[in-house]
Amino acid sequence: MRRILIMGATSAIAEATAREFAALGAALFLVGRDADRLAAIADDLRLRGAAQVEIRVLDARELAAYPQLVDTATARLGGLDTALLAHGTLTDQAAAQASIELLADEFRINALSHMALCTELGNRFESQGHGCIAVISSVAGDRGRQSNYVYGAAKAAVTAFTSGLRQRLHPKGVTVLTIKPGFVDTPMTAAFRKGPLWATPAQVGKAIARAVQRGTPVLYTPWFWWPIMQIIRNIPEAIFRKLRL
């Protein structure tokens, strides 16, 4: 039985992934900001087959609370072997261009918090000799674009950080999964017009659960984002700087 800590558990992708693990009989420790929504999700996951569901209200920006959070999750679930880091915000690019304070805050919520929790979990999983840390980054981190480079830069940090952590922990029997979703139809993206490239949280959740079970290092989801991003990453800068992406 997997014992899983989920940060940002009220996010659509996290909830969809949690349903996959609940159906497999996992034990889950859900962390989020909204107690009512966490409780509703916990009831649902129990009915979907989870062996145990615990909830904890916490703002992911409270980095100092992480060691105690991991302690509590480990104690309540009787151990911990998997974590999904799914919290974050979609940065308002125009606002972040205009405010250093907002820029710093966005980095705290979308990059620093992931790195801090990865550090805490990585050290513990290293000493126990097994575990999987799955972190939601984004295709937006593969190359900075004018429309969302603050968000993209934070995700690039997460991608680079998890890449290094993966190398470090691989010989210790710990897997680190970097998840790069493309466009997903979630409340975070409710304002966007949806086209054929958009995926549902359920599709992405299935892919994440499969990748965790297989020990995949990097997951583009849906898969067609891998070739798309290879092309975007390889456009020469002389051309790229003229594009309106």
């Binding site: 009220t10 659509a12 909204d34 009512d36 929504r37 509703a40 999700i41 009831d43 649902d44 009915l47 979907r48 409340p187 409710a190 017009r193 949806k194």
Partner: protein, 438 residues
């Protein structure tokens, strides 16, 4: 934002703005014109709100509580019936009433007070709703049941989503031994024969339905296939093999409707005469038995880019043979007909909703490719017959009935109007009440 396929009939319409409701703990958005939108399986404009906002409820899909001892389930209204079945059937519970597709939300099933093949036994979906939670645009949360806010409950069952957002509901499920049904099917040569078989079957068979060959004329008019079944006991099912979950998909919309008088006649004749139309002791898995069309994803595309109209009416039993004969003659003469003609008797159990469609008698459902004025003229002619017979047309399937017809079909509509949330409306409601766009 959502284009096109807002309603199942795929008739042309304007783009709708879809705002998903992601938590049952969140207030409604501050919008002047809203309509709950589940999975878009209503055929016409009862699930459209041209110029306004649709409140997407598929994101309200959490289970709240389920008691495997009593079969009572408490859940959010955006759960699909198919998802509910996947959860409860392993424990031996099945929806007490199910329509012909499992891809409808619980909220949609309540708001349209849907019926199924067991109407003569079980009534309609609303008869099995224990209570529901309604969110009004003024922020009020009402817990409605047959005893609490009973009038608001009666307005919400079959209330087309207009009385507020159904956020959660408690349903009484039905005990079953497993996923199998046992029954038989037989050909009948006339409407008179259909009614005789229906009358004889209703005592011993929980589910009855008939397919009608609408291209048959002359002495063959009214011929079809009668199917009946019961949930099979567990020991019958032990040996049977569950069907694969594979589904076909209609991957594109043909440039013109694939349904025309030639393809219709060929299909109907083959369907009527195929050897498997007659089965003495058949064992069906519940999916092909209840949801044959769910096996073809997006089958509604077959009618081409102009979409199609569905017509479903209910007629009082007395005189029904004559009215149905008249309808079938007109449909035959028009050359506009459908594959999927369904005939089913309704029982006496009263529906709970002020606007509920099911009432004692017989219901006929057909679909017609949208050929513009010709199709509309035929449907008007059918409406005249339904009106004269004292019947009614099903709002969930309708895109064109007149305000006058609606108001005669549903005499409770004025009492109902008093329960409509001031910020809730639909294209259908504006049309059948003749009210200006809000």
């Amino acid at each position: 934002m959502r284009r096109g396929g807002v309603s199942w009939g795929r008739l042309p319409g304007v783009e709708q703005r879809l705002l998903p409701v992601t938590s049952r703990h969140q207030p409604l958005p501050d919008q002047p014109s809203m309509l709950p939108w589940g999975n878009g399986r209503s055929y016409g404009d009862s699930c459209r709100n041209d110029g306004g906002v649709l409140l997407g409820t598929r994101t309200l899909d959490r289970y709240i509580a389920f008691d495997p001892a009593t079969g009572v389930i408490d859940l959010e209204a955006g759960v699909l019936l198919g998802e509910l079945i996947d959860l409860t059937l392993p424990n031996g519970w099945f929806p007490a009433v199910t329509p012909g597709t499992r891809w409808v939300t619980v909220g949609g099933a309540i708001a349209n007070d849907v019926h199924g093949k067991n109407h003569h036994r079980a009534g309609s979906f609303g008869n099995h709703v224990l209570d529901l939670e309604l969110l009004r645009s003024d922020g009020a949360v009402l817990h409605c049941s047959p005893t609490a806010h009973a009038d608001r409950f009666a307005a919400t069952i079959g209330g087309l989503g207009l009385t507020g957002l159904i956020r959660r509901a408690r349903l009484q499920l039905k005990r079953v031994a497993g996923p199998w049904l046992r029954g038989d099917s037989q050909r009948f040569g006339s409407l008179g024969e259909f009614f005789a078989i229906a009358a004889e079957s209703e005592r011993d068979w929980e589910y009855t339905v008939a397919w009608l060959d609408c291209s048959a004329t002359g002495g063959q008019l009214g011929r079809g296939i009668f199917i009946r079944g019961n949930h099979a006991p567990a020991q019958v099912a032990a040996a049977a093999q569950a069907p694969g979950s594979g589904r076909l998909r209609l991957p594109f919309t043909p440039p013109v409707s694939a349904v025309n008088s030639l393809s219709l006649r060929a299909f109907n004749t083959l369907y009527f005469h195929r050897p498997s139309a007659v089965a003495r002791d058949a064992l069906w898995h519940y999916r092909p038995f209840f949801y044959p069309l769910d096996a073809i994803v997006d089958w509604n595309r077959m009618y081409g880019p102009r979409g199609f109209y569905q017509y479903q009416c209910v007629l009082p039993q007395a005189g029904a043979v004559e009215v149905l004969t008249d309808m079938l003659r007109r449909i035959g003469a028009s050359g506009l007909g459908s594959f999927l003609v369904v005939l089913k008797t309704f029982g006496e159990q009263p529906s709970r909703g002020l606007l509920s469609f099911p009432r004692p008698g017989v219901t006929l459902a057909l679909d017609f490719p949208n050929r513009g004025e010709r199709t509309l003229a035929l449907l008007e002619a059918l409406d005249a017959l339904t009106l004269a017979a004292g019947g009614a047309v099903y709002p969930a399937k309708d895109a064109r009935m007149s305000a006058a017809a609606f108001q005669q079909y549903f005499p409770g509509w004025q009492a109902f109007a008093g329960h409509v949330d001031p910020k809730f409306t639909s294209s259908f409601w504006r049309r059948v009440t003749g009210s200006a766009r809000r």
